[in-house]
């Protein structure tokens, strides 16, 4: 008798507890779903491929031409919409990263710089390409490897490869072969009595973005130095430190145009075209 009452009480309590837990879960999930309901609701009739990239500042706009060519060769296939983002690599990176973190369905393809590949693959922001869709022997090995995940699958395919070049003003100088040569030639042209007065020997990209990383690495390598990453620490050898120091010193001495500290690619190109600067690294 007593057992019956106790069991009934227990059953009632369990029912109440379940009801409570259920109500609590629903109460937490409903607003969550309303605000953070991820998942791509794609329009099945929308056959476009949406591609995010930085601005194509090359005169030929070859990306646009490539898209047109691809659409011409694939009549009836999906069309391509290229979204170009202004504001330089930082904006581009911020947009691509934030979109993937938020589970956005905005972009189908990202044109990422090689330095970001590792971040995106490791964080799980990219889908792998179907195996055997692309063959590695058609690509430069370094860029190809940058798109390979630790699981051996291919998350990125090299789109284009580029190198930094040193441009020089034919009317002002011969091409310098070494740092010292560039410095000597600049200093003699900076003097008040110089025949061809110049503002600086070189303009480059030292703003706080990936361009500074590239310039810094080039300065390290030019000095015969090396850099390695140990866990979360970056270790420089003495030559590397000297290389970086030279970059700083030459900027204060106007061998490198001091405004380079604020410049990305476009600004440095503009400065090179508008001012009397012997060379441009770009």
């Amino acid at each position: 008798m007593r057992d019956g009452i106790r069991r009934r009480r227990l059953r009632r309590l369990v029912t109440l507890a379940t009801a409570g837990a259920l109500a609590g879960t629903v109460a937490a999930l409903v607003p969550y779903h309303q605000r953070y309901g991820h998942g791509c609701e794609r329009d099945p009739n929308d056959g476009r491929i949406v591609m995010l990239s930085g601005e194509d500042i090359n005169p030929g706009r070859h990306r646009h031409e490539l898209i047109k060519e691809w659409e011409r060769r694939n009549p009836g296939g999906p069309s391509v919409r290229l979204i170009e983002i202004s504001g330089g690599p930082n904006s581009e990176y911020g947009e691509a990263l934030a979109s993937q973190q938020l589970g956005s369905c905005r972009y189908d393809l990202l044109l990422l710089d090689i330095v970001w590949m590792r971040t995106f693959i490791e964080a799980g922001y990219l889908e792998p390409f179907p195996a055997d869709e692309f063959r590695p022997d058609g690509f430069l090995p370094g860029p190809w490897r940058s798109g390979t995940g630790d699981d051996g699958r291919q998350y990125g395919i090299p789109f284009k490869s580029d190198v930094g070049l040193l441009f020089y003003r034919k009317d002002l100088t011969r091409p310098p072969r070494t740092w010292d040569e560039l410095r000597d030639r600049t200093i003699e042209n900076l003097l008040p009595q110089a025949r061809a007065r110049v503002e600086a020997g070189m303009v480059t990209q030292l703003a706080d973005y990936e361009g500074l990383t590239v310039n810094g690495l080039e300065a390290i390598w030019a000095a015969g130095g090396s850099l390695r990453v140990e866990g979360r620490r970056v270790v420089l050898d003495d030559a590397a430190v000297a290389g970086l120091q030279r970059l700083v010193d030459e900027t204060t001495r106007t061998v490198i145009h001091p405004a380079s500290a604020e410049y990305q690619e476009t600004e440095s190109l503009k400065a090179f075209m508008q001012n009397r600067i012997l060379t441009m690294r770009n």
């Binding site: 507890a17 409570g20 109460a27 969550y32 005169p59 983002i85 504001g87 938020l102 508008q274 009397r276």
Partner: protein, 681 residues
């Protein structure tokens, strides 16, 4: 020796008192919890636990009616002692019927137990679910995932201070509780109108609309946080529904009023020109300053939010639609020699010139930056800590101010609890520091931080309103006449010769055009062309660098980019007069107030073509003949025969010699002349 009855009672008492003590302790802990740990997450949990424990204690109490009665009795005794009169009244009251408390209390107890069970499980489930969906995302168990990427948009005028605070936030404890929470990428936009348009077009630029082009340009990254100068900008955006974006204003961060700043040595002269006692309005101060011999400048509303807000204040007293009054006002504050420019450019011009007869309408914060020798933009040199000319800031009675709201932007369903938390922390961080770090005031208008004594301790807070901003944006183009300009640049061989500054004439022309393009507003149209064209075949024509198009957003950037990339390898046949005619033809139906601006040395490098008489005849055939301005870069400048003939034939309105002046001044004069045409219309 223990009595059995006493032991039971003590046991009973313990079953009630212990939970009570526990509950009260948890409540006290909850009060102090935020000081000890991350309060946001733990406080509700502790509060809930405390409440449940107290409820258990009360439920236990109800099991023992005699205990309840004892408690009630003792309370009654206390009550009687406190209010003796009620004791007297009780004496005459008839004896009350005693109700048996036992069964009632038992029912109450059962009810309470049920409530405790339901509430307890509901709350636990709620907390667990919230925790799981917030932190149970993929990768949550890794030591530190990537920080949340926050895309922050601010006006160019606040870039410096927001950049600094973002850098400090990055390494602050608020952003590093175990793992780094957020990484901030900052972008800037100068034009309030460009931002509004972008919100209406899902952040794409104007060139992407109405074309079947497969390419769309984004105006930078989609912002997660927008830090406009004024909530009027937000209201203006929300007046039309932003496409696929939700804007949430999360309060104001700091306040700075618009001020009328004049050189110190003019202060007394201005005061003496002001009307007697009473409140001084913008109009009073502008009139007084002009009578005192000052020119009045304001940042260009097209490229400066501060300039736009200043204009809102100035237009307020003029009845809507009274274009004549607006033009009269604009005439009074646009002065030759001080070309309109951004907020900091304007103050930089004053700082670098060393002497000044210009009064400026700026934010109090920008004036403070100037007075304290803070950086005024990347291109502005710092000349010591103190400026050579000190400025006094007047506070007009009808001045409003920038209230710096913090706006969370959510695009479609692209939200995430971690992002929201990062945004909350960034907001709190900014709200605590912006006022004291940047020379702003608190949201209630109080001056804070280390400020010079001349700063008013408190000003009334009067934020700008969206409709006023909309009205100004609508009326400004008609108050300041729009222009439609074709810039054409000579790239014949002689333009490769060096100028006095030892740059080529072509490079000098490029620099001047670049400065000119920066002064064009959204209402203007412009194009850039070079002559002769690169390819000489197919008859005489201009090498179009950019055709004449409305000059806003992407077109502006496009023109600047193309200008930087074009070179002097011109060939083919295109003498000066043919080029002017071609440029005039290119202006047809492109807009109002048309003008051709030629950058040339005027030296004849190609023979043939039409002569000045023929050009006059052909231009006369135009229904709305464009004016012609020449910027002369050659050795003889405006005295070059081909340029002289343009003047004699009354084709040319004015010729500017580049060696006479600086770039800013020359372009300032040019624009004063370009816009002058509209005044007489």
């Amino acid at each position: 020796m223990n009595r059995p009855g006493g032991g039971k009672r003590r046991q009973k008492a313990l079953r009630v008192v212990l939970p009570l003590i526990g509950g009260v302790t948890l409540f006290i802990l909850e009060i102090f919890a935020p000081l000890l740990i991350d309060g946001d997450e733990a406080t509700p949990l502790l509060a809930l636990l405390g409440m449940l424990v107290v409820l258990v204690a009360i439920a236990e109490l109800f099991r023992y009616p005699d205990l309840v009665e004892a408690v009630v009795e003792s309370l009654r005794a206390v009550f009687r002692r406190l209010w003796p009169r009620s004791r007297a009244r009780a004496a005459v009251r008839p004896p009350r019927v005693r109700i048996r408390l036992g069964p009632v209390l038992n029912r109450l107890r059962v009810l309470l137990v049920h409530v405790v069970v339901v509430a307890g499980f509901a709350a636990s489930a709620w907390l667990t679910t919230t925790w799981v969906v917030t932190w149970g995302v993929p990768g949550w168990d890794e030591p530190c995932g990537r920080p949340v990427e926050l895309r922050v948009l601010t006006s160019a005028e606040n870039r410096h201070i927001i950049r600094r605070l973002a850098d400090e936030f990055a390494v602050s404890p608020e952003n590093n509780r175990g793992c780094r929470l957020a990484h901030i990428t900052l972008s800037t936009q100068s034009s309030a109108e460009a931002v509004r348009q972008a919100f209406l077009r899902e952040w794409t630029g104007p060139s992407s609309v109405g074309t079947d082009s497969p390419v769309a340009t984004l105006l930078g990254a989609h912002p997660d946080v927008w830090l406009p100068a004024s909530s009027a900008e937000v209201e203006h955006v929300l007046a039309q529904r932003p496409r696929n974006a939700e804007l949430e204003v999360m309060g104001s961060l700091a306040y700075t009023p618009m001020v009328f700043a004049a050189p110190n040595r003019y202060q007394e002269r201005i005061e003496s020109q002001l009307p007697g006692a009473g409140a001084r309005t913008w109009r009073d101060l502008i009139d007084a300053a002009r009578r005192a011999g000052l020119t009045v400048a304001r940042p260009d509303p097209a490229i400066s939010v501060a300039g736009l807000l200043a204009t809102v204040d100035l237009y307020r007293e003029i009845p809507p639609g009274d274009t004549a009054a607006l033009r009269d006002l604009e005439r009074g504050i646009t002065s030759v020699g001080t070309p309109a420019s951004g907020l900091r450019d304007l103050l930089c011009t004053i700082r670098t010139s060393g002497t000044s007869t210009t009064a400026v309408i700026v934010t109090e914060q920008a004036w403070l930056d100037y007075e304290r020798g803070e950086p005024l933009g990347d291109g502005c040199p710092r000349r010591g800590a103190r400026p050579e000319v000190h400025y006094h800031a007047f506070h007009p009675a009808d001045a409003h101010g920038a209230d710096h709201p913090f706006v969370r932007v959510t695009w479609g369903k692209e939200a995430d609890p971690r992002r929201d938390e990062a945004i909350d922390r960034w907001r709190d961080w900014l709200a605590e520091r912006l006022a004291s770090a940047g020379g702003y005031r608190t949201t209630s208008g109080k001056a804070v931080g280390d400020l010079p004594p001349l700063v008013e301790p408190e000003v009334p807070v009067r934020p700008f309103a969206g409709p006023d901003l909309a009205r100004t944006l609508e009326e400004f183009p008609s108050a300041r006449p729009a222009v439609t300009v074709a810039f054409i640049v000579d790239r014949s061989g002689s333009m490769n010769q060096p100028t006095a500054e030892n740059v080529s004439r072509l490079d000098r022309a490029r620099e001047l055009i670049d400065a000119a393009l920066r002064l064009l507003g959204d209402a203007d149209s412009a194009g850039v062309a070079a002559f002769p064209a690169e390819d000489g075949s197919g008859g005489p024509r201009l090498g179009q660098i950019q055709p004449v198009v409305p000059f806003s957003g992407a077109n502006r950037e496009e023109a600047a980019k193309r200008l930087a990339a074009f070179d002097s390898r011109g060939s083919g046949h295109m003498p000066l007069y043919d080029a002017i005619e071609q440029a005039a033809l290119g202006l047809r139906d492109r807009g109002v107030n048309q003008a051709v601006v030629v950058f040339t040395d005027g030296e004849k490098s190609t023979r043939g073509g039409i002569d000045a008489a023929e050009l006059t005849r052909r231009l006369k055939a135009f229904e709305d003949r464009p004016r012609v301005f020449v910027v002369a870069i050659g050795e003889r400048e405006c005295d070059e025969p081909d340029i002289k003939r343009l003047e004699q034939r009354e084709i040319m309105t004015r010729c500017y010699a580049v060696s006479d002046t600086t770039t800013d001044q020359l372009i300032g004069w040019l624009f004063a002349d370009l816009r002058d045409q509209g005044e007489g219309e």
